[in-house]
């Protein structure tokens, strides 16, 4: 069986970043890219299922991104993915979660996968949508925020727990094939030593185009998206009143605040 793990190379902001000229995104120079934290967990969950299974399981890491994301895919290969697949076309630039999901669903169909994992959200833009949108576009059962999973390859269903607000868990049984978005803490992601990453560099990354997936320009990018970025700006930060001085002075001021509060409470 095949498990597809949708991954994303997210961008974090460097010091002193600047919004680009078009006012709609941060300049590339200030972006530090790395594999999305949630994807470490979803990939690990897939590899765990593979390792525990008697039957052959193939784990495919898939991303929709330009060549710079190959580094993130190599990390996935180092961590146990069997294959890495990247889809890109210039027209996919500016795709929102749903447009990306359209591409991911096409890959899932093309590869005839049996299970799709995605992270609950990405640490950069936190849409928390791509995985579930993929499920809808595939017409598959889907569930979000999975914090514990019990699944044996070949089984017609899986039992999982979703992590609700306040730490409550809800146990659910879902029919398979399915799309599940995986939450942090579901497992302990393995360490990929630099040597294994280097060795993974020798493995090929399959690159697909939109036409390989029978998608057109209208399915992706701005035309395929369900929202449009008008403007990006740095908000005025409300700042805390900073307590200055050496640690002893700062602590004394804080002690004063505490005493005042207790005076009120008392």
């Amino acid at each position: 069986m095949k498990i597809m793990v949708a991954v994303k190379q997210v961008a974090a902001l460097d010091e002193d970043f600047e919004i680009g000229e078009d006012g709609r995104d941060v300049s590339e120079d200030f972006l530090i890219r790395d594999l999305n934290e949630w994807d470490d967990f979803s990939l690990e969950e897939a590899v765990k299922i593979k390792e525990a299974s008697a039957q052959a399981v193939e784990v495919i890491a898939v991303t929709v991104a330009p060549e710079s994301a190959d580094e993130a895919l190599r990390k996935c290969l180092a961590k146990g993915a069997d294959r890495a697949l990247r889809v890109w076309d210039e027209s996919a630039q500016g795709s929102d979660s749903i447009a990306i999901a359209r591409i991911l669903a096409a890959v899932a169909k093309a590869e005839s996968v049996d299970l799709v994992f995605a992270g609950v959200q990405s640490s950069d833009h936190s849409f928390a949508s791509t995985g579930i949108a993929t499920g809808a576009l595939l017409g598959w059962p889907h569930a979000a925020v999975v914090s514990a999973l019990d699944y044996s390859p070949g089984s017609k269903s899986a039992v999982f727990r979703r992590e609700l607000e306040g730490g409550l868990l809800h146990e659910v049984e879902i029919q398979c094939p399915a799309v599940l978005t995986i939450q942090l803490g579901i497992n302990t992601p393995r360490y990929a030593s630099l040597r294994s990453i280097k060795q993974a560099a020798a493995k090929p990354i399959e690159v697909k185009t939109l036409s390989d997936l029978s998608l057109g320009k209208g399915d992706v990018g701005a035309s395929g998206s369900h929202s449009r970025v008008r403007r990006m700006y740095i908000p005025d930060k409300s700042r805390a009143e900073l307590i200055e001085g050496d640690p002893a002075q700062q602590a004394q001021r804080l002690a004063q605040i505490i005493r005042e509060f207790k005076g009120d409470a008392a």
Binding site: I32, Y191, L194, R195
Partner: protein
Amino acid sequence: MSRTDAVTRILFEAFPTVEVRLFYVLGYTAIAVFLYGVYVQIRKYRRGAALKLEGSIYSRLLDMTVKVLDQRTVARRDAAAGGAHRLIFYGFVLLFLGTATITLQYDILEPLFGIRFWHGEFYLIFSLVLDIAGIAMLAGLLYMMYRRGWLKPPKLDYARPDRAAGDADFERPQYRREDWAFLWTLVVIGATGYLLEAARLVWLEARPDVWDTRWWSPVGALIAEGLQRLGLDAHGGGVLRLSLWWFHGILALVFIALIPFTKVKHIFTAAASLMVRDPLAAQRLPRVPENQAAPGVAKITDFNWKQLLNLDACTKCGRCHEACPARAVGAPLSPRDVILSLREFANASLQSGKLPEAAELDVHGKSSGQVAQETLWSCRTCMACVEICPVAVEHVPIIVQMRRKLVEDGAMDPILTKTLQTIHKTGNSFGESKRKRGAWSKSLPFKIKDARKEPVEVLWFVGDYASFDPRNQKVTQTFATLLHEAGVDFGILYDGESNAGNDVRRVGEEGLYEVLAGANIAALEGASFKTIVTTDPHSYNTIRNEYPDFGGKYEIQHYTSFLKQLFAAGKLKVEQPVKRRATFHDPCHLGRFNKGYEAPRELLKLLGCELVEMGRCRDNSFCCGAGGGRIWIPDPVGTEKPAQNRIREAAAIPGLEVYVVSCPKDLTMFEDALKTTGNEGKFVVKELIELIREAVPAPRAEAALA
């Protein structure tokens, strides 16, 4: 020919031929068993991985011979044991040479060429020397028995921190048995030798050339007098002589035959180990060979033959056990027990005809002979063990190579895993953006040259802690100011610098080390400078000793040598001597690793400090505990940290005012330990650079800055 000229000992005198033949048969059998034992040992070593030794075999041989002859390594940190062992060693060697000399004449020269020399004056002096040798050996042995049985020094305690009561290999009674058996056997051989000598004298009392010259064997003669007083006559002497002869002879042959199977083999393995040692063992770790399938040591056969030899060279002297900072604070690591466990494993698995299955050769784990993860992760790679080992066992590379396997498997503390990922991502262990590496310099009133862009005379490799840790940044700024005031043409690499990789390598992440070293070497190659200076001993060690293996060979100094030169050249002058009572903590990577003991002390003297040494100083300096990646691994709750142990040692110095360090990690660890041991207010922890700043006040215009 005068009577004395004829005097000699007739071998096998009055023996029936069949007994002589029997002795030769036993002798050859003993030698055959001995040779077989040697074969089994050598076969064991050859089952390890290959290794090519560096340097000429002749200089190695010479070095080993000198060390073995003067026994200097055994005398370190234990003069009494050194003295006693010298007595045993010289005694034994002389006795051995004596027997060899007799054999030379009796079995080779005389029968083949008719040459005889063992008679007359030569024989008499020979007898005297050997009698003295025997006394020396017995004296040494008796002292050793006293040491083991009565003095009981802690380092001879075989209690081990890496196993609990109930584990199969927790108690090792066979060690004690073997130790005492060895001592007793030699003592008995020696004692019976004298008794035999005395018995022969009594037996031959009627022969003037023997009896009249008996005092050339003073011990034997004394005992002979005693035996006669007890009523022994010539006939009785003869009987005693014969029985003692056989007893002594068989015991000696059994002893020889069993050499390769017992502790006695250290005679050969220690010498061999000294001969094949790597003088830079812990300072320069070995690369992962290109063709190796998986990095690090997983099976006993992944160790190379030298390491397997090391395992056999160990004599359980306990010096490494005593020196280890992890062991001292109760961590489950004793370098001695790592070596002994592996030795037991090697003996159990590699000494039979057939090699066991690969699965049975795994050295990681908690079974008998295996080494546990907690043990390997406890190591601070301070090399106290390697440095003090009298037989050149190289514990640190063994531990690091086993760690490489753990890293590959991801078997690490989660915080360590995170740190390695952070270092890979940002080039530093703090997770700060690369661009911020030079941020500490922004508050200075002068601009530090960018060595990536313009040539400089001195390239200052700053290091992670010195760049990012707030407390250390102050020291870094002070150093920059001192260099500026001294008119030194210096620059830094700013964001071109990454973590030097010393500790990453010692954690066992060799792949990440190669990335870091590669990046730094590329940056250094792109810059133009004459020499490198660093304030970080860890960076100093790896750039000096390990970067050449990766194509980066540079002249590098630690700041203590560099500042010493500046003072000598008059570029810095002491104007306000720091008259404080100070003690100096030798940083592992500067002191023990690179023998940099003197420059900091000379600086302290120059500054006017009253230097009082701690007991564990210089080569015996006690590690702060941060090395080997331990600064990134949390200590178990409620245990003593090495830094606390060390601060307590310093606190015992009456009137101590300053505890001086010259390493960023030391500064961090000891300032913390000062507080947590409750010694805050009693004395302060200062970086040497800060003391220099006190003694060399800033020129008036920039006084506000200091």
